[in-house]
């Protein structure tokens, strides 16, 4: 597995131009808008997408055939891919935070710690869920079709979401927004302890989603012929 992880890191290093561009753009955003939270999310988004980049490269040109002839079983491959995805997500978040910190120091402004952390956490969870859905799809259908399948998934979720919302508000006549607002109003009253709890719960949920996705990917690749 170590070999496969080194391979992923080497692939990413080969994309260093992409890195430099990403950091440059993030800096430009932060400088012009004076808002580091957007740049932080942007960095996490771009870097976490690199997991999918490695997946595409693994597949291109008979790459999977090559990898599976090395001392790496299908199971090892999936394990390494998810390990990489999680490490990459953590790295992206820490890196984004560090960049914001450096940026604030250079500019001499105070770092809006709460905002930065919550936006990084938010995008981290979102990207984590996106990867959990995309990795199994790409393993099953290949990089090209996998992305189409992912878009189809998002479309279905959005349509379902809107459908459920409409059903609740227009057919059953429930005041969804009112209920949500009331819930939100109650939250700060409990104090900071709860925020940490929410973050913790979100992370645990994310890990659970990752685990389910990992099991699904394992099943997919076990049956796949190359």
């Amino acid at each position: 597995m170590k070999g496969l992880l080194i391979k992923d890191i080497k692939i990413i290093i080969s994309q260093k131009k992409f890195f430099i561009m990403a950091i440059f753009l993030a800096a430009v955003f932060a400088w012009t808008t004076e808002d580091v939270t957007f740049s932080a999310s942007y960095i996490v988004l771009l870097l976490s997408m690199l997991t999918l980049t490695t997946l595409s490269y693994d597949e291109a040109n008979g790459g999977m055939l090559f990898l599976l002839t090395l001392p790496a079983t299908r199971k090892t491959y999936v394990k390494s891919k998810y390990t990489f995805a999680v490490l990459n997500l953590v790295f992206a978040s820490v890196f984004a935070f560090a960049l914001c910190y450096v940026f604030a120091m250079v500019k001499g402004t105070a770092l809006p710690l709460d905002d930065v952390i919550s936006s990084i956490m938010g995008i981290m969870v979102a990207m984590g869920i996106m990867l959990s859905v995309t990795i199994p799809l790409e393993l099953k259908y290949g990089a090209e079709k996998g992305r189409i399948a992912m878009l189809a998934c998002i479309a279905v979720i959005v349509v379902l979401g809107i459908g459920v919302y409409k059903l609740l508000t227009e057919v059953i006549k429930v005041d969804v927004e009112g209920i949500l607002l009331k819930l939100l109003e109650r939250l700060p009253a409990v104090g900071n302890g709860l925020e940490i709890l929410i973050v913790g719960v979100l992370l645990v949920i994310l890990l659970l989603i990752f685990f389910v996705s990992y099991c699904v990917s394992g099943k997919i690749i076990k049956k796949k012929e190359f």
Binding site: K7, D58, G62, G63, L65, L68, L70, A72, T73, E225
Partner: protein, 283 residues
């Protein structure tokens, strides 16, 4: 026994592979056949990349399900379609291989890359076909594998390079615990290297013979239509109609040399074997 395939069957549409092969320690076994005859499917079945419908595969005495990462360290594999990620450089592959194989020799790898003109600093996508082919073989040879599984390793190489590669394989075979299963469409590569040859046609093994026997006892008769009607056909294993009459493939060249001195008989070669025993020839 390093590798054993027993009635391994795999169906793809109308194509059916039905294959039995053995590779013994200290032996180089060749697998020949025209394109689409089932060579790659055989290789992929051995490596667990496709799942046979039935039959038995034993690699180092284990079924593909039982093969662990550790067992795979004892394999050196070159597949035509398989390539290392093309954005990586030969230099990048070294630490990957080092982490994967306990017995990977960095020194040997770097020496071989240097000897065979593999640039360490260029991404593989900028390599020529020949360089890519050489790199694949080098990767298979530098971690002390017990069994090499080589599907068309000489594809894309010129004569000099092919000979160098065959020499590398001969050197590898000095260790008698090792074995090679190799396919190639360049028959001279195999004639000088293989101890025995399997011929696969339309998914089935049609001939299995020691290379020496194949070269000394097999032959091709060139006969006119009249001669064809006259000759005893019990040692003719396949024939093809030609303008002048028939080409007949025999496994008893001596019999025809003695009994029909007027018939033109050519010494058998692997090329003849492939041409005469492939789909289209009449067995």
């Amino acid at each position: 026994m390093l590798l054993k395939l027993e009635n391994v069957k795999k169906q793809y549409g109308t194509f059916t592979l039905d294959c039995s092969i053995e590779v013994k320690k200290g032996q180089v076994t060749g697998l020949v056949g025209s394109n689409g005859a089932g060579k790659s499917t055989t290789f992929k079945s051995v490596l667990g990349l496709v799942f046979p419908d039935s039959g038995k595969i034993e690699l180092f005495g284990k079924t593909p399900d039982e093969i662990t990462d550790e067992d795979k360290e004892k394999l050196g594999v070159v597949l035509t379609e398989a390539n290392a990620c093309e954005v990586l450089r030969a230099k990048d592959l070294a630490p990957i291989m080092k982490a994967m194989y306990k017995h990977f020799s960095l020194e040997d790898y770097l020496n071989k890359c240097k000897k065979y003109g593999i640039p360490l600093d260029k991404p593989i996508k900028e390599f020529s076909t020949g360089m890519k082919a050489k790199l694949k073989v080098i990767l298979a040879l530098t971690h002390d594998a017990k069994l090499l599984i080589l599907d068309e390793p000489t594809a894309g190489l010129d004569v000099t390079m092919r000979n160098e590669l065959i020499d590398m394989l001969r050197e590898y075979m000095e260790n008698e615990e090792c074995g090679i299963l190799i396919s190639s469409h360049i028959s001279t590569d195999l004639e000088g290297l293989c101890d025995d040859i399997y011929m696969i046609s339309d998914g089935k093994i049609v001939i299995h013979e020691d290379t020496d026997v194949l070269l000394s006892e097999y032959g091709v008769l060139k006969v006119t239509k009249e001669q064809y009607d006259e000759i005893d056909k019990q040692y003719i294993i396949s024939q093809k109609e030609e303008k002048f009459g028939y080409l007949c493939f025999t496994n008893q060249k001596a019999f025809y040399q003695e009994n029909y001195p007027n018939i033109a008989i050519e010494k058998g070669s692997i090329d003849d074997l492939i041409i005469m025993m492939s789909k289209g020839g009449h067995h």
